[in-house]
């Protein structure tokens, strides 16, 4: 099913809305009327619906099958949450309405904030960050603000090699120099090396736990003690919080700040790349520096604190400022709270357990055909890490396996990440996959592994059955074509 671009299909005189007549008034545009055409093609409603419906069918989604992307946690997106987020009382209120007219919205934010604090065991949470990386920025800004407040201008942030790219990028964005911490042979932070590096120039350590190898950092408490002893802070990348929610509270591990990806842990839809939402929980040491605005319950009423000056309480009066216009991703908050209430106490714990059980099942079922990099060091958490060693000598690598999976009807796993494992393949089934679904994936991967070794040439150019074959990314980057332009020929013909 091929579908042309809107620009090849629509026309500037086509329109899919009906609007009432425009009353005649004297223009107040001050002579700034737009005269030149925008060149914006339109479609009638039937054609618009058909265009995007057809395009949608070139996508893979969770609704079509397992999405075993390590570190990205593509779990089921409940439709109840979509319905709740569309209640007019949430979807159709303006961020600057008088607070008396939005008490229910503030109650929702406060309620979600409460459960995020309870689930993480941390005393404060900033709700406004718009995504995980934005949450990291929030956390690192709080750390820097806390250090500056005590006159401490440390310049270095330590980051494990296995970290998400956002970690070093965020630290750099906050003006820090980034240094790597090595991993030990078991895929964990090398505690001795870390201790050796700590000193008065280190502002913070950014750790992911469970880490990007899918492993829990058993020395986490010791790491925290060492970092705090050195006068630095512990930032935790919470991307993998779904593996421990309800079973472990980051606050009990000595963490000072951690963002929570609402789409990873609390099932808000990924939507082809966003919107996200990345609230950040803080320890008592960082709480006073948390960003504005936030919601404060005062007796029966909820207040929205938007200005530092409005702060009565001494623990919030050193806020580092505002991270976004307005108050964060309300639509995602509704979905996340709907998810939390749906699971409740027993359900959230079960989420972590099933996520971990599923990943270990995949690990156990594939470790005889793929090299399971750290399987010797015990069970994994929510994701299973393999390498492409088994393809040595075939000239094939991870990417070829990934693309071959497409022809089997699956979305590929995460490839070449984390960087600490050569040819890494990171598989995260998530807790919303059934055993049958995983058995299908396992069966397909086992069969593929066998077939790729038997006939490597058949897989160099996979996929064959997808809407597009392998796309030339190099050509795209060499001479970027980022917008559509009328082909010269067509123009000449007119």
């Amino acid at each position: 099913l091929e579908e042309p671009l809107l620009f090849e299909k629509g026309a500037v005189d086509r329109c899919g809305v009906d609007l009432p007549d425009v009353p005649e008034v004297k223009s107040r545009l001050g002579g700034l009327e737009r005269h030149r055409p925008i060149d914006l093609p339109g479609l009638s409603e039937p054609d618009m619906v058909r265009h995007y419906t057809r395009l949608s069918r070139q996508n893979y989604g969770i609704d079509l099958g397992i999405f075993p992307l390590g570190s990205c946690t593509m779990k089921h997106n409940p439709r109840l949450n979509e319905k709740m987020a569309r209640l007019p009382g949430f979807a159709d209120i303006h961020p600057l309405q008088p607070v008396d007219s939005v008490q229910g919205a503030l109650e929702l934010i406060d309620t979600l904030a409460h459960w995020l604090k309870m689930l993480t065991g941390m005393p404060e949470v900033a709700m406004s960050p718009k995504a995980g990386a934005h949450g990291e920025l929030c956390g690192m800004l709080a750390i820097r603000a806390a250090l500056e407040a005590r006159g401490d201008s440390r310049k270095v942030v330590l980051v494990p090699e296995s970290a998400h790219g956002t970690n070093p990028a965020t630290a750099a964005f906050c003006g820090y120099a980034v240094e790597n911490i090595p991993a030990d042979a078991r895929g964990r932070v090398d505690l001795a090396a870390l201790k050796a590096r700590l000193g008065p120039d280190v502002a913070a350590v950014m750790i992911t736990n469970p880490n990007t190898c899918g492993l829990f950092e058993p020395d986490m408490i010791a790491i925290g003690e060492a970092v705090h002893a050195a006068g630095a802070f512990v930032y935790c990348d919470g991307a993998n919080f779904n593996a421990i929610v309800g079973r472990v509270r980051p606050g009990d591990l000595g963490i000072d700040a951690m963002h929570i990806n609402l789409h990873k842990t609390f099932s808000t839809p990924h939507g082809g790349g966003g919107p996200g939402s990345g609230p950040v929980v803080f320890s008592a040491a960082l709480a006073p520096f948390a960003p504005l605005p936030f919601v404060l319950k005062q007796g029966d009423k909820y207040a929205l604190i938007e200005e530092r000056e409005a702060l009565a309480s001494a623990d919030h009066n050193q806020s580092f400022g505002r991270m976004v216009a307005f108050h964060g991703q309300m639509g995602m908050f509704v979905r996340a709270l709907s998810y939390i209430l749906s699971h409740g106490n027993d359900g959230l714990r079960q989420v972590a357990e099933d996520a971990v059980l599923n990943a270990n099942y995949v690990l156990a079922s594939l470790k005889d055909v793929f090299t399971a990099s750290f399987a010797d060091s015990g069970p994994c958490m929510h994701e299973a890490l393999f390498s492409d060693d088994f393809l040595d000598g075939t000239g094939l690598s991870t990417i070829d396996l990934a693309k071959a999976m497409i022809d089997e009807g699956f979305h590929p796993m995460t490839m070449y990440f984390p960087l600490v494992v050569h040819g890494a393949m990171l598989v995260e089934p998530t807790e919303t996959e059934s055993k049958a679904s995983m058995d299908e994936l396992i069966g397909a991967l086992r069969s593929l592994a066998r077939r790729m070794l038997a006939d490597p040439d058949a897989y160099r150019a996979a996929p064959y059955l997808s809407p597009r074959r392998r796309l030339d990314e190099t050509a795209a980057a060499r001479k970027p074509v980022l917008t559509w332009r009328e082909p010269v020929l067509a123009v000449a013909a007119e």
Partner: protein, 452 residues
């Protein structure tokens, strides 16, 4: 539990395959001290759909929503009518539940949408290229200032007093620990000379000038002279647009000489949502694209020579460049961009222009009505669908009293500039196509009453 497919029998089978005695064994790496054995205090057990609906609907019912009342708020978030077909499209599972299109062979749907989105945004803003969206307008503006610094290698940014104060606050937060110099001024409602003053302030240290059009107060102005002043000094002009519908009525920022255009795209395809998720727009000149933040979708061909789309220039991005990336951004607003593109496709050129004309005409009608209320003065001489009036008394309490009468009357300047005495009587009023004559009557009558 309805979202968890494993049965107790499945779990037992799987533990057997794993060779673990029980689930606790899989959590062996967690230190004893950090194991949570009891329940989360106060959290109820899992609830059915009906119970969750009841709990959330109860909260929702405590809010007065825009559709239920005469409604006149703007200031960076606008109530427009979104066609039902747009919401239908974004709920297609293949769009809603898909991932960032890193596997382009099975993500052409999302990628083609992003390519269409980029083209639409570039055309609206009058720029050559646009990215695949950002978190919102405020963070897009900050990224633009950083991009200007990378391009000009200068650190001073001049911010117009007509820029939304939340946007300025975000920029201030993110430059707090950098060596950027952010020059701002409190707005002065009695004078419209801020653009002239800005143009005069540009110097060889200036990286960029940031100006919002229409301004926070609703004013529209020709930015051409300012652009010329910037370019003469080697600085960039960054134009912020928070009401995307205005693109249908006003000369584009590109035509006026902007180098980077950022904006909030919520107005098209997206609801108010109490402030988020929203849609950051980001457009620039082609020559600067390698300094741009965020995702870019580009055209290419597949192994069979067929046209296809991929995320491109990712060597700018954090997952490749890590600490050397142009931004730490990893998420865009993909689904909001789809809503924007689908709605704009319904509108097309004719529809967007008519929608914009309708907004303007309704705003002019309303401004004229309010101007005749005794004691009210129309501050804005030129505007699109939003204007500022000055009341005979402090605006914030008036807004509250009007809300008690069921009229959501606008945004008081006190709310945005708390403590600034000179602005305390100012009120910003937005009027879109959703405002009826009855709404206007209700506002006028209520204001008459409150001010009497």
């Amino acid at each position: 539990m309805r979202y968890l497919p494993l049965t107790p029998a499945d779990r037992a089978d799987m533990l057997r395959v794993i060779g673990a005695p029980d689930i606790d064994a899989l959590f062996a790496d967690v230190p004893e001290a950090a194991r949570l054995d009891g329940p989360i205090h106060g959290l109820t057990p899992h609830m059915g759909e009906l119970e969750v609906e009841r709990a959330l609907s109860k909260m929702a019912a405590k809010n007065l929503h825009a559709g239920a009342t005469p409604f006149f708020l703007g200031c960076g978030a606008y109530k427009h009518h979104v066609p039902a077909s747009v919401d239908h499209i974004i709920q297609r599972g293949e769009f809603l539940t898909s991932y960032t299109p890193y596997q382009p062979e099975i993500a052409q749907g999302t990628l083609q949408v992003l390519f269409e989105f980029q083209t639409q945004v570039a055309r609206l803003t009058g720029m050559e290229v646009a990215n695949a969206s950002m978190y919102d307008g405020s963070t897009a503006m900050t990224e633009a200032v950083f991009m200007a610094r990378r391009i000009t290698r200068r650190t001073k940014a001049l911010i117009s007093s007509g820029v939304h104060p939340h946007y300025v606050a975000v920029l201030r937060t993110l430059t707090r620990f950098t060596d950027d110099e952010i020059v701002t001024r409190t707005p002065d409602l009695t004078s419209d000379d801020y653009l002239v003053e800005l143009a005069e302030s540009v110097d060889k240290e200036t990286s960029c000038v940031v100006v919002q059009n229409p301004s926070l107060f609703g004013h529209v102005a020709d930015l051409t002279p300012l652009a010329e002043a910037c370019h003469a000094a080697g600085a960039l002009l960054i134009v912020v647009v928070t009401e995307a519908v205005s693109f249908g009525a006003l000369k584009s920022p590109g035509e006026m000489g902007a180098d980077i255009v950022v904006g909030e795209g919520q107005s098209i395809g997206n609801g108010l949502n109490y402030g988020g998720p929203y849609l950051g727009l980001f457009a620039c000149r082609e020559k600067h694209v390698r300094q741009a933040p965020g995702r870019l979708c580009g055209e290419t061909v597949d192994a069979d020579g067929r046209r296809g789309f991929v995320l491109t220039l990712s060597t700018r991005e954090q997952h490749i460049r890590r600490e050397k990336a142009t931004s730490n951004i990893c998420t865009n607003s993909g689904l909001c961009a789809l809503a924007f593109t689908a709605h704009l496709t319904l509108l097309g050129e004719v529809g967007l222009r008519k929608l914009a004309a309708l907004n303007h005409a309704r705003a002019v009608q309303m401004a004229e009505r309010l101007a005749r209320v005794p004691g009210v003065e129309l501050v804005s001489q030129t505007f699109f669908n939003e204007f500022t009036i000055s009341l005979p008394q402090e605006a914030r309490p008036v807004v509250r009293k009007l809300a008690e009468r069921g009229v959501l009357a606008g945004v008081s300047l006190n709310r945005l500039f708390p403590g600034v005495r000179d602005l305390e009587r100012g009120l910003i009023v937005a009027v879109t196509e959703t405002v009826t004559d009855g709404d206007m009557d209700a506002y006028e009558d209520a204001l008459d009453e409150v001010l009497a």
